[in-house]
């Protein structure tokens, strides 16, 4: 399976992966993406870059794992990663839900206290 991917395609793949990495970097430096979420994206882009440089990497790993059709490995890994990330987002979402509830309650209780004070004065 030597030289299945033409060099032109490889250059495109490397460029896209690097651009994506640059984009993530920009988001973090502008404060639009928190560092803790950026970790997973950096890992993804690093893998993209790795496999666009190491051309036979996919086949090597597929053979190692005994996967007959190498591209199936890509889909499996990608879907798995997406599911994990979605669960992670749900966890974050639930945590925020709790925090918002607490904030709303505190705010409402404070408003009530403030009204009490102003009617007494």
């Amino acid at each position: 399976m030597e030289n299945v991917i033409p060099y032109r395609l490889q250059i495109v793949a490397i460029t896209v992966a690097l651009l994506f990495m640059f984009f993530i970097f920009r988001l973090i430096s502008k404060g639009k993406l928190r560092e803790e979420y950026s970790f997973v994206w950096f890992t993804c882009t690093a893998l993209l870059v790795l496999f666009s440089i190491w051309r036979n990497g996919l086949d090597v790993i597929a053979k190692l794992l005994g996967v007959y059709y190498a591209p199936a490995l890509v889909f499996m890994a990608a879907i798995f990663a997406i599911i994990i990330f979605l669960v992670h987002l749900s966890v974050v979402n639930s945590k925020q839900h709790e925090q918002i509830k607490k904030l709303a309650q505190e705010l409402a209780l404070l408003k009530n206290k403030l009204d009490d004070k102003s009617t007494q004065d």
Binding site: I100, K101, A104, Q105, L107, A108, L109, K111, N112, D116
Partner: protein, 243 residues
């Protein structure tokens, strides 16, 4: 009698413009014994009708939530209020007029007598007053069974929102209270934390306006959701205790 006991009536309301004033006046006009004082506290759960305006115009003490938290979050806000302000007892009363204030002393008595930490007003212990629909009753029987299996307490009316909590229970619910459809789940919470629950018969009325938080097409979702959250709560409290 040494000092007068302070009772907070927590009334969560979401779009109850037709009921709030009526309920407030009814509470004011109900004669209560001298040894306790009753303060109604309305919790406006970000209603989008004129509930808020009515509460302000009539100078009624209320807590105004900036975002809609749902019944559990609203009730918890009221419980927190009662706990912070040093009330001895908090009673939850629905904003739709289903829970008559005249029944209040029946619910409060076991707490004053130190017989219970949590008292639930049940409409099924005696066949008086409004008895609700057959579908709802089937659901209630299911929860009765579930509660008995999990924590070994039999509660006839686990969906009843007419409840009284003493200080010990208030401290617990200030920390955690279920969000959506909290009533059956809260029973598990109380019993696993060794609070004593007593059920007393009260008569209830048919709702006087507004909409029930349990609509018919949502019943199945309600059952599944409550079952799941009850089981999860049971497991998490049990595993916490083992550590």
């Amino acid at each position: 009698m040494n000092k007068q006991l302070k009772v907070a009536i927590v009334i969560p309301c979401y779009n109850e413009q037709d009921n709030v004033l009526k309920l407030y006046q009814e509470i004011q006009n109900t004669p209560f014994p001298d040894f306790y004082s009753v303060s109604p506290i309305f919790v406006n759960d970000c209603s989008n009708d004129s509930t808020r305006i009515i509460l302000i115009d009539n100078h009624i003490n209320f807590i105004d939530l900036p975002v809609n938290l749902g019944i559990g979050g609203a009730v918890q806000t009221g419980y927190k209020y009662a706990f912070i302000n040093g009330f001895d007892v908090a009673v939850q009363m629905d904003g739709d007029g289903q829970h008559p204030p005249v029944e209040l002393s029946k619910i409060l008595r076991p707490i004053f007598d130190n017989e219970a930490d949590v008292v639930i007003g049940s409409r099924y212990l005696t066949k008086e007053g409004f008895q609700s629909t057959s579908l709802r009753r089937a659901g209630i029987n299911y929860f009765k069974w579930l509660n008995k299996k999990l924590v070994g307490v039999t509660i006839q009316d686990s969906t009843s929102g007419y409840r009284a909590l003493n200080k010990k229970a208030l401290e617990l619910v200030s920390d955690y209270y279920p969000d959506e459809y909290p009533e059956p789940e809260a029973i598990i919470l109380y019993s696993l934390n060794h609070l004593k629950i007593i059920e007393v018969p009260v008569s209830m009325r048919e709702r006087q306006g507004g909409e029930s938080s349990i609509k018919r097409f949502k019943t199945l979702y309600y059952m599944v959701k409550v079952t799941l959250s009850t089981l999860f709560l049971y497991i998490s409290i049990k595993s916490m205790k083992h550590k």
